[in-house]
Amino acid sequence: MSPRALFSLLLCTVPLSFGFGLMNGSLPLAPIEVWYALLGNNEDTATEVLWQLRLPRVLAAFVCGGLLALSGVLLQALLRNPLADPYILGISGGAAVGALAAMLLGAGLATTQLSSFTGALLAIVAVFGLGFRHGERNIYRLLLTGVVLSAGCGALISLLLTLAQGEQVKGMLFWLMGDLSHSQGLPFAWFVLLAVGLCATVLSGGLDVLAGGLDKAAALGVAVGQWQVGLYFAAAVLTVMALQLGGSIGFVGLMMPHAIRLLGVSAHRWLIPSSILLGGSFLVLADTLARMVWSPLQLPVGIFTALLGVPVLLWLLSRRS
């Protein structure tokens, strides 16, 4: 598929996924009801549900998916490793330890958010300080530092889950598997996504070169050290924003870029915007299903990102070989 065609197709899926997300939930709405409610002329339940609950939720799901997918693209270029995802450098581990510790102490939503933010920042600084040597073209140290830190956080997460009791555990599991019901700071997240996405697309030529190897990139005129620092912090900011919106939602950041590549688009100029669109639409779909399937009970969205994504990717992979 040509990059342009794929991008146009993905652009068309955005209104479809939004429509699907707005129509479904514990109170199903017909398309015409959604339309009237969006116009906001009458003050009925539908209007209220749509403006107060569904629209913010769908916007949060989309921006969160976009952030994760973009972060995945940048990290895969930085680490030149197809298994890199937004959580590989320990950022989500730090955030999870922060969030769970706050929950264990019975903190409210705002304190939990702040605590997870602090945990993520500490992880970012620790991995960068320990793992990055300026002028050294060896990125494995960074990667391994992140993986080691993640393992340490994993142990702490298990400890916190063991110490927690009853209802606390459920809240913690929701955080760990991703949950978009408490999203805050939506306008800022959209601003970050659009700004970083635009910058990355403009600078995509350098990313193409960088993905081909560090010495090669330097030989072709890329200031490798500066790019590495820039990519690391850009990906870190995106990941932190996504974690703040929806906890650690798995699968999106790792797999959306690969899905686009498997469809035959790998130049970053198209890979970046396509991955953002696919990640956003995909997470809206998964989140809507998480609200619908067991309605009125809501399930963690992370379950659906994996359940939906795994078969599609396995099919794409087998088709290729």
Partner: protein, 261 residues
């Protein structure tokens, strides 16, 4: 004009290079001028690649300096350097998911002015490089589905698209079949005739004799010999270099060196 043409492009002054505590060369003085072709020979692990990477500014030198056009390498921006100095690496260590054509087009990255892509001239030069390496038929294939030899030719095509004045080539003939070895060396000879300077790591002494006018012999103890190919590519020097007995065969004015068993 003649004077300017003969100014050295790449020079080393008292260059000492080490890697992991092992000294590769001590106080090496080399002068590479336009139109010269240098062969670098030595045993495995003697540091040929590291020396080449140092001369490309990709490896920190211990002491001394490497100059491009009379100015230290470090004083040039990477982009400026990449417009003049092409490097063919032995091992790229990257993942490239795009087509062969897109891969070769990356050679034009140092000249890219638009943020949104490559211009028609870049495309034409990439196409020309693909043709030179007989890769037109593979242009649309995904790069990572190519064989080792085809990937090597694509890497050379990428370097050719870069249109550098000086090339540092690390084992340019690796993985190539006999026909493509000959054809690649012919392309390099044409570059040399056009005034391009070349320095290549080779293991085949025959290609060194045919194409190189100068050679650099790197010995395992960190000393180096350099001079014209004629005076250095002798059995005595090569036996000392590779530390094994060699047999010399002559045919139609060319000399082959074959390792004795």
């Amino acid at each position: 004009m003649q004077q300017a043409f003969n100014n050295p492009v790449l020079e080393t002054h008292k260059l000492t290079v080490a890697i992991g505590g092992k000294v590769i060369c001590r106080e090496l003085d080399l002068t590479i001028r336009p139109g010269e072709c240098w062969g670098v020979l030595g045993q495995n692990g003697v540091g040929k690649t590291t020396l080449l990477r140092t001369m490309a500014g990709l490896h920190m030198l211990q002491s001394g300096m490497v100059n491009w056009n009379g100015v230290a390498l470090a004083a040039h921006t990477r982009r400026n350097l990449a417009q003049h100095l092409g490097v063919l690496l032995q091992n790229e260590g990257g993942e490239f998911w795009g087509s062969v054509q897109e891969y070769v087009l990356l050679g034009r990255f140092p000249y890219r002015t638009s943020l949104f892509g490559y211009n028609a001239q870049d495309e034409a030069l990439a196409q020309q490089a693909l043709a030179q390496m007989e890769l037109e038929g593979l242009a649309q294939r995904p790069y990572n589905t190519l064989s080792g030899g085809e990937q090597q030719r694509a890497a050379i095509a990428q370097a050719l698209a870069q249109q550098a004045q000086c090339y540092l080539l690390d084992e340019p003939l690796q993985h190539l079949d006999l026909r493509h070895q000959a054809q690649t060396m012919q392309v390099f000879s044409q570059l040399k005739e056009q005034g391009c300077a070349l320095m290549m790591v080779l293991h085949d002494t025959l290609w060194a004799q045919r194409c190189c006018d100068h050679v650099l012999l790197l010995f395992a103890d960190g000393h180096a010999l350099h001079g014209t190919a004629q005076e250095l590519l002798t059995r005595a020097h090569l036996e000392a270099l590779y530390q094994c007995p060699l047999r010399e065969l002559s045919l139609e004015g060319e000399r082959w060196f074959v390792a004795g068993v």
